[in-house]
Point group: C2
Chain length 227, copies 2
Amino acid sequence: MHDAGAINRYQLAELGSLLAEPARAAMLLALTDGTSRPAGELARAAGVTPATASAHLRRLLDGGLLALHVQGRHRYYRLADDRVASMLESLSLARIPAHALPTKGNAQLRRARYCYRHLAGELGVAFCAALLRNDWLRTGTRGLQLEITGVDALASHGLQFVDVSRVYGRSCLDWTERRMHLGGPLGVTLTSAMFEAGWLRRSPRNRVLIPSADGLRRLSELGVDVS
Amino acid sequence: MHDAGAINRYQLAELGSLLAEPARAAMLLALTDGTSRPAGELARAAGVTPATASAHLRRLLDGGLLALHVQGRHRYYRLADDRVASMLESLSLARIPAHALPTKGNAQLRRARYCYRHLAGELGVAFCAALLRNDWLRTGTRGLQLEITGVDALASHGLQFVDVSRVYGRSCLDWTERRMHLGGPLGVTLTSAMFEAGWLRRSPRNRVLIPSADGLRRLSELGVDVS
DNA sequence: ACGATGCTTCGCTGCCGCGCGAATCGTCGC
DNA sequence: GCGACGATTCGCGCGGCAGCGAAGCATCGT
């Protein structure tokens, strides 16, 4: 008996074999932005025929890495949950030499981007830091939790969202910043609220998030370093 | 050109195939405590002949997951760096159902354990939280950094260590706590200092770390919640 | 110098699984 | 209903690789 809760060799090997095929890896990477995509599109993304893709998708589904949503004759696949997403992010990080991280270019992507439906990048890190600095976010037993004071502060600056007293966040390591930001259900909730408040909008082409002038002003008022 | 810094499908698949074999997975898991082990021992741990183990170890070495230290006729393998270790930790986390995480039993292991040569578990999380709460730890551009005030505070409570002005830490997600603690070179340095100060000692059998009464008192004085 | 020990390399066998085309199932549009 | 379309299942060929035993190489002990 050793390390209850720890993964065993067979579970790790099973997980590895799910990643071990370039076609499956491509599918997973195509889904890291949190979108749901039909099987045919994933087949094209992976560069294999629909028949082959179907077999791969079945394995990923059985392996618990994907979730399925059936709509008419389409079958939409997405990452099973945000733990799978952050696993993929951390794997990405693991394979990149540390000195290569602060990439030139891609300034927009470094600035603010979508990381499985929550805000990441410099702005995401700064937002999370501000929440912590003001004691609006605390680490409870079940994850990161927004304090009442935080809810009030965000609301007073025009950010409206549902009751988050039972919504928990997770710390998510950022692959460009190598610093923590707010993920999990709480991160998704707050990011969605920013969309609705017009603070942020998505780029149609990639994972870049574009803050509005109003959004930046509001964030700045909340103590977020938007420089 | 997309997502500079992100892993591509072939890199992810290569990484996956390294994990995909139970024998290799067993070897990696046997090394997650940060030890170096000779090839023969790893062969026994994996349940394969030395010949087979040698081939596996070569692949892991070429893949950048292991490092090698030759001493006489022994060849000692260890995890290449702590990014590999935290990658393995995050993979473990990904495969464990959320509701199963707060495991009964293994109280000692949940309490404090070795995570690739730094302190993890409840005590690790609480220690990191205290550092952040007192503004002794800040997130600089190159990683987590200890402030002068933090160095002084720790020193005044009897913790002695080398100059850490250029030693950076990384946030490391904990698989029992699901919360951040301090890893990376800085985490290793501080944990080593705790060993030398007699605050902690290792269990000979597993990854459990046992705090001394004096260590708990010192940590408590530093604002760490040791309850 | 000699055998014992730890580890690697070589040659071989067997098996797993990827990829495709063809066929099948289910749904949508007319 | 009927064909068109998305997706899955089936059967087959082929490549890669895990596993072992035997042999080779380096080092330690005496």
